[in-house]
């Protein structure tokens, strides 16, 4: 399983803090994103943003990076701390 997390406005849009995604058939983060978007129109809309950021195992990453069983993947909007 892949541990998937959502933060901030994305968490609110999806009304979901996180979920366990089946790693079968998922090779990279883009693939994971596509399988999540297929959950419904809400998911498709929220995950479509080209501003979407992603972290793999708590490090900033990008969509074409490989992902495997046991990884933690977080999706979130651009950060606004400081």
């Amino acid at each position: 399983m892949i541990n998937v997390l959502f933060f901030a406005s994305l968490r609110e849009q999806l009304n979901c803090e996180g979920l366990q995604a089946d790693a079968a058939g998922i090779t990279d983060i883009a693939g994971l994103r596509a399988s999540l978007a297929a959950r419904g129109s809400e998911w498709q809309a929220a995950l479509a943003s080209d501003q979407l950021q992603v972290a793999l195992n708590q490090k900033l990453s990008s969509m074409n990076v490989a992902v495997k069983d046991g990884d933690e993947v977080a999706f979130f909007p651009p950060v606004t701390g400081g």
Binding site: F7, A8, A55, F76, G81
Partner: protein
């Protein structure tokens, strides 16, 4: 190097004292503190008063990202001590949000390190701000600014 991600407040004076304690080699100490303003500088020009700022963060990654930024600063400049504190949770106008402090034998190194850490923290550390107007039950997520991403280009 000392990094804290915490809900509790902090005292910049006490942080200064820690940066200087038994430190006789670094003549320079630079510090930056970010505080909650009582208004949101709307891009439309319309200012909205802010009563509460709610800071969400990604536990674990927040600490890791700040540690990584501090390490990068320590590789670029001859720094003595580096301290970063970032709060999360609900904050009121005037409250401290973030503290960055660095010491060095060279004033420009200490100041540049503070600016560098703040610039990367703004665009690379997983924190998100939500502003609540007075009496409002729903808040507005603060939008990331292009100027913050642009600020990284100078490093």
């Amino acid at each position: 190097m000392s990094i804290s991600v915490q809900a509790e407040g902090f005292d910049p004076g006490a942080e200064y004292n820690l940066l200087r304690s038994e430190n006789y080699v670094d003549g320079a100490t630079a510090m930056f503190v970010g505080n909650v303003r009582d208004f949101s500088p709307a891009e439309s020009g319309e200012q909205q008063s802010v009563a509460v700022l709610e800071l969400e963060h990604y536990p674990g990654m927040a600490e890791a990202a700040l540690t990584d930024i501090a390490r990068q600063a320590a590789q670029r400049w001859p720094l003595g001590r580096v301290r970063i504190i970032h709060r999360f949770g609900p904050l009121a106008a005037g409250d401290e949000i973030v503290f960055v402090g660095s010491t060095s034998a060279h004033r420009q190194a200490a100041l540049d390190a503070c600016a560098f850490i703040m610039d990367f923290l703004k665009s690379r550390a997983p924190f998100w701000k939500k502003e609540f107007a007075k009496g409002a039950e729903t808040g507005d997520w603060v939008q990331a600014r292009n100027s913050d991403e642009d600020a990284l280009k100078k490093w």
